[in-house]
Amino acid sequence: MLPDPRSSHGTYAAGPAALIALSLVPLLASCAAAGQTHLEASGVAAADEHGKAAAPLAPPVATDLAAAHDTVRVRIVAAPTRLELLGGVETPVWAYNGSTPGPTLELREGQHVVVRFHNRLPEETTVHWHGLRLPVSADGSPFDPIAPGDSFTYAFTVPQGSAGTYLYHPHPHHRTAWQVGMGLYGAIVIRAEDDPLAHLPERLLVLHDTRFRPDGTFDFPPRDSEQGRLDAENGREGDVVLVNGRPLPELAIRPGETQRWRVVNASAARVYRLALPGHTLLHVGSDGGLFERPVEVDDIVIANTERVELLVRGTGAPGERVVLRSLPYDRYMPMWRPADWDSPLPLAVIRYRAAPRGQATPLPATLRPVPPLDEADAIGTRVVRLGQGRIDGRVMDMERVDGSARLGTTEVWEVRNLVGMDHPFHLHGFPFQVLSRDGQPVAQRSWKDTVNVPKHSTVRLIVRFDRHAGLWMYHCHILEHEDDGMMGILEVR
């Protein structure tokens, strides 16, 4: 039975979200008999014959205006527009270059990147290049807002060894949740010349959950309402999950084929626990790119702004449909837990094409080396205590530096979550490696820029402050929490 894409989230499942069930369920049912024609005509795109996601399901790719191969020059405009996200109703959104998600930046290691950004929004904004190693002048932090009507050039060079999947989004002080919630987010793919998985058909899935009012506008309740208070505590969650800007899209796979998926969690707060019934997944990478070895898993947890790379093996039969879903994940304090938190969320429908059968693809046992940051090099341990809305007992003050680090040094950070809900911890500018969780060493090294710290737990990570001095943010990446000041400022000099 095909899923109702609405969850049982209560009051927000009515109205436009119901159009999803009405428009897609019978359509998909009819296509089971008739083949792909209806789906393609509807714009709910199947894969092409190479297994690559065909337009319009994949986000558009940013047009490179540079002539030189070693330079990427793109133009990004943030502006209000109206988009048909649910089918049959237009939603006022804020979008990068007219789409949500915005255009994907396709980059290569070593390239010099120039982004000419134009703010056509009615308020100030920034563009933060989440996870990228770049000068602080290009970070897009709250220190550098761009006024309405103004433009700014972000320029940086993509370091060698940074191949992975990233995202970009606004980061103005106190307004990040609003601006991302209105549709401003996009993905970045950085590729290596020696990518061991370059031969695989690839998909980019950008996840973003939201809520709609019956008139099709986004639901942002007043702060002092019951839902507003819940949003402030938990971060805003919604009953409609958009995958590349569409609810419950259909993705095609061929029996025997292996696809490489890059998944970006661009939600304000929701944690996804990705699972594909009847299938195991090969977890091959995280925020900062590939692991050393694939890991076979039943499901993958991806917290707010984390990214995962995984391999999906087409072990199903021709014509079979399987629903990619998010299994329940309890990140909440019991007093603020939503009533339907334990309902699985359908995300996308995976349809097995009838023919031709995919070629068996050899997979390397080793993906790429991940050089370790050595604890013996660390000059000390920095303890960071996460509260509910505060770090180290304080809310952020743009005039206050909360700590300092020396360029060229390595530190161990002990991030202690002292309260009863998960907080995804993000550090600007410097990727790190997670060493342990509650004293248990992690199974393998990976490059991260965001790590979920579960309730009442401790994550130890190691970071090297190389490359760029400046004032760098660290914060909980639940957008409402960062807007309310769950941030700190680290001066690296």
């Binding site: 000390g380 509910q388 180290d392 700590g403 530190e411 002292l418 309260v419 004293g439 009442h456 700190g488």
Partner: protein, 302 residues
């Protein structure tokens, strides 16, 4: 699982400027003192400690008053269950009070009806009483093995109960015996239905106070003691009124006085200890639930 951290490491982490780097140190043997740090609004505490006599060094590094209430959970009741079925009903009654949907005189009844039947089995074991920002108090008490909930139920100026903002966590007391012993006391406070008696002379400087509960009321919350520094212009009635949590302004910052330490309710017949740093001046030792009925004693430090 987190074990008791050495006092030196915790002290360095907490007393240094926030987010400072401490040099790598070799691990040290567990100290008998359990450091628990209160900030606005977190409790930084180990997840398990040994049983028996236990000294908790309760340090308030926040800007508001804090306390550490320890509740021994009945067998089979989890910390999460305690949060959902006990902490949330208290908050709901409080929200009803401040919203005007529950009258003050109805609040206790509303609470009794909202709490689960197992709540009567929650063990009260004492614990650090109210202390103002920047203060520290050592509290020595006997803890039996079991599962405990730690919480602060002070309200901030906006009316948010601290534990609803995150200031609560579980604690496991293991069967492993601690090496702590009961301290020698400088002053003895006895709590009874007919009042609070104080033996000994509190002096300027650090005092170790023994608190003995001779008896508790048959109904309602038990006797406790909190030491308030009385400032000119603040009446004792203001202090006892402020200590009534089931009122709109009860235990809600800003407090009318600074509290400098105390002890939460314990079963009759038990004794526990707390330290308090006193400067010359007037003080009031007062029971939170029964102070307005006379369980209080003013004293002067010279």
């Amino acid at each position: 699982m987190d074990r008791i951290r050495s006092t030196a490491v915790i002290a360095a982490a907490c007393l240094c400027a926030p987010a400072a780097v401490t040099a790598q140190a070799p691990s040290e043997a567990a100290s008998p003192i359990v450091e628990i740090v209160a900030e606005d609004y977190t409790l930084d505490a180990p997840s398990e400690i040994p049983s028996g006599w236990t000294t908790i060094r309760f340090r308030n590094q926040g800007a508001e008053h804090h306390m550490l209430y320890l509740a021994r959970l009945p067998e089979g009741v989890s910390f999460e269950q305690y949060q959902r079925e006990a902490q949330v009903p208290f908050d709901r009654v409080w929200q009803g009070l401040r919203g005007g949907t529950i009258a003050s005189e109805q609040a206790l009844d509303a609470l009794v009806q909202a709490l689960p039947s197992w709540y009567g089995g929650v063990g009260l074991v004492g614990g650090p009483g109210l202390i103002a920002a920047g203060l520290v108090s050592d509290v020595t008490l006997r803890l039996e093995p079991g599962e405990y909930a730690l919480e602060c139920y002070v309200k901030n100026a906006d009316g948010a109960v601290h534990y609803m903002e995150g200031m609560t966590r579980p604690l496991r007391v293991t069967a492993e015996p601690s090496s702590t012993t009961a301290p020698e006391a400088d002053v003895r406070i006895t709590l009874a239905n007919d009042g609070l008696s104080l033996e000994g002379t509190p002096a300027a400087g650090r005092n170790t106070i023994a608190v003995h509960v001779r008896e508790n009321p048959e109904i309602g919350f038990g006797h406790s003691v909190h030491i308030a520094r009385l400032e000119p212009g603040v009446a004792i009635d203001q202090v006892t009124a402020w200590l009534n949590w089931l009122t709109v302004d009860g235990l809600r910052e800003d407090a009318p006085v600074d509290f400098v330490g105390g002890m939460h309710p314990m079963p009759a017949g038990q004794t526990a200890y707390f330290t308090v740093d006193l400067e010359p001046g007037r003080y009031l030792a007062v029971s939170e639930a029964t102070g307005a009925q006379g369980v209080q004693q003013e004293f002067t430090v010279h």
